[in-house]
């Protein structure tokens, strides 16, 4: 038997505080093994791995497909009749064909990309761009604020003389 040869943790070790979770696991394994040993001579191979074509259903309600037995007719209990109507509508709703679309999928996608998606795309792109790319894009835009500041240039001598 494999359980005989399997190394076991000593009781002293299992009682230690940090081994509590392992202790529970070991106890469960022991229990499982015991119950398996108990029933092993009652269970045969056929019981363990047979798959049957029969399903047992003890309820007449489900077998015969009976309806709910609480009913009201001709306005005797309006609240109940509303519930019955809702149920009926739900039952028919499952079989009703889908409503036709006013805007087809292609138009919807076009409108979406025209309005919303590119803006979001840009925002996210900006987040992942490097600083270098960022500066480059700004300079391409031609914004003078971001252009390199000109160095101070010494005035020529002849300018002064005028």
């Amino acid at each position: 038997m494999p359980s005989k040869t399997k190394p076991r943790l000593s009781r002293g070790l299992l009682d230690m505080k940090f081994m509590q979770r392992t202790k529970v696991k070991v106890a469960k394994e022991d229990d499982d093994e015991q119950s398996r040993a108990l029933y092993s001579n009652e269970l045969n191979q056929k019981m363990l791995n047979s798959n049957s074509n029969y399903i047992i259903e003890p309820s007449y309600t489900i077998c015969a497909g009976l309806i709910d037995g609480r009913l009201s007719f001709r306005g005797m209990n309006p609240e109940l009749e509303r519930l019955m109507e809702l149920e009926q509508a739900e039952k028919q709703g499952n079989t009703r064909p889908e409503q036709p679309k006013e805007v087809n999928d292609q138009e919807m996608a076009d409108a979406y990309y025209a309005n919303q998606a590119p803006a979001v795309c840009k925002t996210m792109n900006k987040k992942f761009a490097t600083k270098n790319e960022f500066n480059k894009r700004k300079s391409n835009n031609g914004n003078p604020k971001w252009q390199k500041k000109g160095q101070f240039k010494k005035p020529r001598a002849d300018d002064d003389e005028d």
């Binding site: 259903e57 309820s59 077998c63 015969a64 709910d68 609480r70 007719f73 005797m76």
Partner: protein, 232 residues
């Protein structure tokens, strides 16, 4: 549902079902039992079949055997701590927790007294423990379940209850033409009816009880005569 009228007896092998089970899964309802690869009847009555693969025996019976999910009518018998004992016509008393009602809390208990009628669902049905009922659905709403006020209550066979609850049953529709009414049919063979006056209610109850011995085929004919029963 096919009008299959082959009568089977307890202990009889049901080869019809065995043949069906050869190439597909089959649902065995009440009255049919599997013994290894044989199917044997455990009740006497007509074998019923519903497409695609459900079989059961529609035997005559007055004792209710609880099954999970059934909608039944029970009579409150006593209060036992957090539970109410409810008679549902089975071998054992059923129990219902006082929290199994809509908007019930520990502070706000439902007002139930011995003798009240409940339309409830069987939550738990096991041979070894007592059946448990609930008066709410999984969303905590009572829907159609709950206490039945006023009206008239009577017992009948389980078959009559099932007969009335078939989707294609003409009986309730035929009665609608006579008078406005409200009804609760439990699959445990208990029926509660309510109409505008006492006279109408009793007439209605008599009309339903007249269907007691009807089979699927005779029911149409009897429904034609229900008018007379209600008036009498």
């Amino acid at each position: 549902m096919s009008a299959n009228t082959s009568i089977i007896m307890p202990g009889e092998r049901v080869t019809l079902v065995e043949d069906a089970a050869k190439n597909k899964r089959v649902i065995l309802g009440p009255g049919l039992r599997r013994l290894d690869d044989k199917v044997v009847a455990s009740k006497a009555g007509p074998l019923r079949h519903k497409e695609p693969n459900t079989f059961w025996v529609d035997n005559y019976q007055r004792r209710y055997v609880p099954a999970r999910g059934d909608l039944i009518i029970g009579i409150v018998k006593a209060r036992a701590g957090d539970l109410y004992r409810v008679d549902i016509g089975s071998a054992d008393m059923a129990s219902i927790s006082y929290l199994a009602f809509e908007a019930a809390t520990k502070k706000n208990r439902p007002d139930l007294n011995p003798g009240d009628l409940l339309y409830a669902r069987v939550l738990n049905a096991n041979a070894d423990i007592e059946p448990e009922l609930v008066c709410v659905n999984s969303n905590g709403k009572s829907g159609k379940l709950g206490v039945l006020q006023d009206g008239f209550f009577f017992k009948c066979s389980l078959n009559l209850g099932r007969l009335l609850l078939r989707e294609s049953c003409p009986a309730l529709a035929a009665l609608t033409e006579e008078l406005p009414y409200e009804i609760a049919v439990g699959v445990n063979g208990r029926i509660w009816v309510k109409a505008h006056s006492m006279r109408e209610t009793v007439g209605l109850a008599n009309a339903i009880m007249a269907l007691e011995q009807a089979g699927y085929s005779e029911i149409e004919k009897i429904c034609g005569n229900l008018n007379g029963v209600v008036q009498a």
